[in-house]
């Protein structure tokens, strides 16, 4: 416990002796006393033969997110994201960032952990309407969100190589957060290690390779952990950066539990996707994925037939972006689930149409 305290107190102490910065009012985010405010909204319509419950098909309000960001003082920037759906509103993220320690970025608050690739995305930035099945089985459909502190160190290696260490609050598992980190002892600090490498293959193309591990003690006496690896090739022609390009990406995640005597495999899975931009306003995408021992129900409706077990899915979409601030995405997904318990095979054959809008300020999406 003392060791863990030293690990995370040291960056904070370094912050206190950081190079003094003269306070000025100018900021690249907002030059005013008010924070920069933005809102995104998602509207989704879907239809599938297996979705038979009232309200499970047809158009609907999926989610809205209000984001605020502003400079607090020379040391800190504060950001918050508040999401709303038809039934509720939550403070999804509220965190402060500091870049005052050379080569280190500190993040404190409630936020998505820096795990892998898809787990760091907000819903409105998902490349495919449905998140990969493996996400719901491991970190949660929208990544691992919890209160904690992260320190991301840009190493002195000649390529972009970032090592992130994170420590989070104890938390129980839930349908949105399948990881049991609710072990109540003072020694239980769920922690993350994430390594991200990005190399410029040429002016237009990058290669990214990452690895992540997130672990903590559950209230069942076991350690629970998720391990992940991700690989991305991305091409953005410099001369046509908002007109052409493609992204080839794959990610693998594995969830386990272990104690001193045994290790238990729980679930794993992967996805591979290719997205192609063929005009300023047009994107297409194709994804295949597989999840083993899947426990989440991808029908997304508790009263319809559950699709779990060994799940395979292929998705294809086309998106029209008349501007940077609106998007219409048409997606088709065909999923097959082999249930090992009763031996049944279920299909989810789904068409979806999503409308995505942004108003106000919106920070650039991560590369």
């Amino acid at each position: 416990m003392k060791t863990y305290i030293r690990i995370f107190v040291c960056p904070l102490l370094l912050l206190c002796v950081a190079i003094p910065i003269h306070a000025q009012t100018r900021s690249i985010i907002s030059n005013l006393a008010n924070p920069a405010i933005g809102m995104s909204a998602l509207f989704l319509g879907q239809a599938a033969p297996n979705l038979t419950s009232p309200g499970s098909t047809g158009p609907g309000f999926q989610e809205a997110e209000i984001s605020l960001i502003s400079t607090v003082d020379p040391l800190w920037t504060l950001a918050g994201n508040f999401t709303f759906d038809a039934g509720s509103g939550v403070a999804e993220e509220a965190f402060a960032i500091s870049d005052s320690i050379p080569n280190v970025q500190i993040k404190v608050g409630e936020f998505r952990a820096a795990f892998g690739k898809h787990g760091t995305l907000h819903t409105h930035a998902f490349p495919f309407i449905q998140a990969p099945v493996i996400m719901s089985n491991t970190l949660g459909e929208e990544g691992y969100k919890n209160a904690g502190i992260e320190a991301g160190w840009m190493t002195p290696l000649p390529w972009y190589c970032e090592l992130t260490l994170g420590a989070y609050r104890q938390s129980e598992s839930s349908p949105d957060h399948p990881l049991n980190f609710n072990g109540g002892s003072m020694d239980n600090i769920p922690y993350l290690v994430h390594l991200k490498n990005l190399i410029d293959v040429d002016d237009d193309t990058t290669f990214e390779l990452g690895g992540s591990a997130l672990t903590g003690m559950g209230d069942d006496g076991f350690h629970h952990a998720v391990y992940g690896a991700d690989l991305t090739f991305r091409n953005i022609p410099l001369r046509q950066s908002n007109q052409r390009g493609w992204i080839l990406q794959g990610e693998y995640l594995r969830k386990v539990s272990f104690d001193q005597t045994a290790a238990n495999f729980e679930t794993d899975g992967w996805y591979g996707s290719f997205q192609y931009r063929w005009g300023q306003e047009w994107w297409s995408g194709f994804r295949v994925e597989e999840a083993f021992n899947s426990v989440s129900d991808i029908s997304d409706n508790p009263t319809d037939t559950s699709l779990s077990g060994h799940v395979q899915r292929a998705s294809v979409n086309i998106a029209w972006l008349p501007s940077e601030f609106s998007e219409m995405k048409l997606e088709y997904g065909l999923a097959k689930a082999d249930n090992p318990v009763d031996g049944s095979t279920q299909f989810d054959n789904r068409v979806m149409l999503q409308f995505n809008y942004i108003i106000g300020f919106h920070p650039p999406h991560a590369y």
């Binding site: 020379p74 870049d99 320690i101 970025q105 190493t155 601030f325």
Partner: protein, 304 residues
């Protein structure tokens, strides 16, 4: 665990950049700013731009390698007026370089003290496209504005590197004098064509046309950031024919097909003109950039 902590602590200390010495490592959001910084800084400055001249400065991909490139910069010069707002808010914090964070002495907004044109009045709305709410940010296409930038940079460089302050001021003065002479030459070349209307791809040429007495008839884009429809191109071409407008200008990062289609429909010609240094191979610095722009315009007006 103790060994790991010691290793991390040692690596952190290695990663911390040394205090800025007499030489300044300057990074910029635009080649033009790097060019001016290099003139002002002389041998005491190494200036590089994250955005290449043939890249659209609105849409630079915020690659982590850009963050890496400025990890140890002493100065970062932003274009300002939110031109780089689509990527800089990721790249600057991602660099983890406290010397160049907004508010630090090493962060420079080059648009300060520039006379900004086209500041929106009344309601500002994206119904007008991807507008710039603080005014037109393409001020660097007026060579006289670069004198203002040069003087600004000389002041900041002098504060950061007082040992060479006199040299920075001398260099800035020399830059201003050379620019004044060059402006006279460019004005003389374009004077016979004063009032000539042109069509530009995007609303990024107003500073040049205001300086040199040309007129902007319209744009290839119906609104900023919105690609032209075939109907819009046809209607615009018809209007150009009626008004006798023959010249369409576009930058290397825009859709050349759309510009050429418009010019053809209007019985005119489309010309690739850089608005940024490095946009074409001949535009090696701010002086040769304007040399190229002016000579291309003179040629286009003379052959219509």
């Amino acid at each position: 665990m103790k060994k790991i902590i010691r290793l991390i602590a040692v690596s952190l200390s290695l990663g911390i950049a040394p205090p800025a010495l007499a030489d300044l490592k300057v990074a910029t959001a635009l080649e033009d700013l790097a060019s001016v910084a290099q003139f002002v800084g002389g041998k005491h400055v190494t200036a590089t731009s994250l955005c290449k001249g043939y890249q659209d400065p609105h849409f630079v991909p915020a690659k982590p390698s850009l963050m890496k490139a400025i990890q140890n910069a002493d100065v970062f010069i932003s274009v300002g007026l939110e031109l780089d707002g689509g990527w800089l808010p990721l790249v600057i914090p991602g660099s983890r370089n406290p010397k160049i964070q907004p508010g630090a002495k090493g962060f420079i907004d080059a648009s300060e003290e520039v006379n900004v044109l086209e500041k929106p009045t009344g309601t500002v709305s994206r119904a007008e496209g991807d507008i710039h709410p603080l005014g037109n940010p393409h001020y660097y296409v007026d060579p006289a504005n670069l004198e203002v930038v040069a003087d600004h940079l000389a002041r900041i460089f002098s504060e950061l590197d007082s040992d060479n302050a006199d040299e920075y001021k001398t260099n800035a003065k020399a830059f201003d004098e050379k620019m004044e002479e060059s402006i006279k030459g460019w004005e003389a070349q374009l004077k016979p064509f004063a009032g000539t209307p042109i069509v530009v791809f995007h609303e990024n040429f107003i500073y040049f046309t205001t300086r040199f007495g040309l007129k902007i008839f319209g744009t290839v884009e119906p609104k900023p950031g919105i690609p032209p429809s075939p109907r819009y191109l046809t209607d615009t071409a018809q209007a150009m024919k009626t008004a006798g407008v023959k010249v369409v200008l576009y930058q290397p990062y825009y859709d050349a097909d759309a510009a050429q289609q418009l010019a053809k429909k209007a019985d005119g010609t489309a010309f690739e003109i850089p608005t940024e240094v490095g946009g074409v191979p001949q535009a090696k610095d701010v002086f040769s950039k304007f040399d190229f722009i002016v000579s291309t315009l003179v040629k286009s007006f003379s052959t219509k």
